[in-house]
């Protein structure tokens, strides 16, 4: 089911804004698929091990690996672990640093001791110091320290928000049981969040990451919207009206959510507080109204309504006024998510038997299908905070798995693995 590919020339793609100090990559490598965008070459040198035994050496290796991976996954850099003679790339920046491990390994003392991690971003080869950070992670915190530093480097050199500390929550399982899981954006650190023997779907992060709202089912079979505290895993009920309690999206201020409730006869969009009280009903019609998503400023929202007979996207403001239809192509459009920059909306469109991901400007122009027939079904898009990466679910291998798309480069990587279906991902902010 091949889509006619809209030529890249028609795309309005903006190179990431790069401060003057970071421009001038000397070599642009052309890939065999999409065009490569100019990336900044950067060295990530081996860290000096100043003290400590095997633990310190392992820490040094791990931190270097994570830094290289983070900088590469951002799409903004060409990282390398050493400056090989004859290399055609001229590095302008480097990361170097040192590790001081505990003098006695955990095997001896029986407990984990912190490692001191000193990381520097310097110009190259001049070694002018641009950024210095010092961390004292326990072994299980070393990845996080590396991610933190990589974020700082990305923000300083590229002027873009980094996604190195972000995570993706999703629903995994089949049949009677689907549980929430969370994974680091680089596929590490998979953790299970629920084990309540029912279906748990459609999670949504609060802006500060402290809570995840999601739809689940109570003993009676009735739906409810629940909130999970990410610091301790505790779950409480947000709201459970008769019918659907579906598709939550947190407001950027973290103090309210959009949700679709059908207790008045058919699903409508409401603004509610985290304690379950209703602030305002935003839609009034006998149609199905679902899948709300705030604009980044919280002034407007995009949602799905089938008032014309099949689901299409509409925009209204936070009072429910100013409704305008957004999608006129395709009979079935749903699952809209507004990009963090406010400029684009990604959604799912169903043609025939299969669903694909589409990105377009928030004005409705420049509609571009991201996934072609090779993806079989591609659904449930969610933006990363950098507005460049998008996670979605696809059953191209026969079972739904999560994939990350670099929307600028049109490259993809698989995020989750294994035999169980993974659906409805949400990328933390």
């Amino acid at each position: 089911m091949k889509q006619s590919l809209i030529l890249p020339l028609l795309l309005v793609l903006v190179l990431p804004a790069v401060p003057a100090t970071a421009q001038r990559s000397t070599e642009v490598q052309l890939g065999t698929t999409a065009e490569a965008w100019a990336k900044t070459p950067i060295l990530v040198n081996m860290l000096d091990v100043l003290s400590g035994g095997m633990q310190a050496v392992e820490a040094a290796d791990l931190v270097q690996e994570v830094l290289v991976s983070d900088l590469g996954l951002s799409g903004l850099f060409l990282p390398a672990m050493r400056d090989v003679e004859g290399d055609t790339l001229e590095y302008e920046f480097a990361i170097e640093g040192s590790v001081e491990g505990p003098l006695r390994d955990a095997e001896l003392t029986g407990e984990d001791a912190p490692t001191v991690l000193n990381l520097n971003l310097v110009t190259w080869p001049g070694r002018q110091l641009l950024l210095n950070k010092r961390y004292r992670p326990l072994p299980h915190q070393q990845r996080t320290s590396a991610h933190h530093f990589a974020d700082q480097v990305i923000e300083m050199l590229a002027g873009e928000p980094g996604i190195c500390l972000t995570r993706v929550v999703f629903s995994r399982g089949a049949g009677d049981r689907r549980d929430l899981y969370v994974v680091d954006y680089d596929s590490e650190g998979l953790m299970r969040l629920t084990a309540n023997r029912t279906l748990n779907l459609c999670p949504s992060w609060s802006p500060d990451g402290s809570r995840i709202a999601f739809t689940s089912y109570r003993q009676s079979g009735q739906q409810g919207l629940f909130g999970l505290d990410t610091s301790n895993g505790k779950v409480d009920l947000i709201i459970a009206v008769d019918g659907l309690n579906l598709g939550a999206d947190w407001h950027p201020n973290g103090e309210e959510l959009l949700v679709s409730l059908s207790h008045k006869g058919d699903p409508e969009i409401y603004r509610i507080r985290p304690d379950g009280t209703i602030i305002k009903r935003l839609t009034v019609s006998s149609a199905i109204e679902i899948s709300p998503s705030w604009s980044p400023g919280g002034r407007d929202l995009v949602f799905t309504s089938d008032r014309t007979g099949t689901p299409q996207l509409y925009i209204i403001d936070s009072d429910g006024a100013g409704r305008r239809r957004l999608t006129f192509e395709g009979r079935y459009n749903d699952s809209a998510v507004w990009s963090p920059g406010g400029d684009r909306i990604a959604y799912a469109t169903r043609e025939g038997n299969f669903t694909q991901i589409v990105v377009m400007k928030a004005t409705g122009e420049n509609r571009r299908v991201l996934t072609d027939g090779r993806w079989r079904n591609a659904e449930d898009p969610s933006w990363a905070r950098d507005g460049r990466h998008l996670v979605f679910a696809s059953d191209r291998t026969g079972v739904f798995k999560l994939y990350v798309c670099d929307v600028l480069e049109m490259t993809f990587r698989q995020l989750t693995f294994g035999d169980d279906p993974d659906i409805t991902p949400a990328w933390s902010r």
């Binding site: 779907l201 009676s220 079979g221 579906l246 679709s260 679902i290 079935y332 749903d334 659904e379």
Partner: protein
């Protein structure tokens, strides 16, 4: 020498005696208590133990609340792609279901389901429309609304796996279950 006639007479007498004995009668010629009862016996015969008569069975009500509705005749119904209307076959099944439900006081959960095509959220909404259509029809046939709970699982709890038309048709349904 035996006189055959005497033997014959004796045989007759014996037979008579047997007959009267079989008739359960003793000689009652001179029983003073039998006065006035022509031929009726008042003797107490050895009573053979006679079994108690079988009690008439009570009507036992099945414990519907513990059974799956399909076990007591409440069947699932199916839908066309992207539709929540009830066709003639479905209405026929629901009429039968209504009869069973009216005769019991059980509460059932009607859950709406969809095939895998389309999005998770829209299928949850479509599943709810299917469950509601079924509930509304059953209520119109006299089943009390309070005994019909509804929910929707959308495409997320399929009955048949795979991507064939047959599997999809199996999954587009309103399912009756214990709440």
């Amino acid at each position: 020498m035996f006189n055959r006639k005497i033997l014959f007479a004796l045989a007759i007498i014996m037979m008579l005696g047997l007959l009267t004995a079989c008739g359960g009668k003793k000689d009652v010629e001179d029983d003073p208590t039998a006065a006035g009862d022509a031929g009726e016996t008042t003797e107490t015969l050895p009573v053979e133990p006679v079994a108690e008569p079988e009690p008439v069975p009570e009507v036992i009500t099945p414990d519907y609340a513990a059974m799956a509705p399909a076990e007591y005749g409440v069947e699932d119904v199916f839908f066309a792609f992207d539709q929540y209307e009830l066709d003639d076959v479905t209405m026929g099944v629901l009429s039968r279901n209504a009869r069973v439900l009216r005769e019991t006081d059980v509460t059932v959960l009607v859950s709406g389901h969809c095939d895998e095509r389309g999005t998770i959220e829209y299928n949850l909404a479509l599943g709810e429309k299917r469950a509601k259509a079924v509930k509304d029809y059953l209520v119109s046939l006299g089943v009390p609304a309070g005994r019909l709970q509804i929910t929707s699982y959308g495409e997320s709890k399929p009955f048949a796996m795979g991507s064939s038309e047959a599997a999809w048709a199996q999954n587009r349904r309103a399912h009756f279950e214990r709440p």
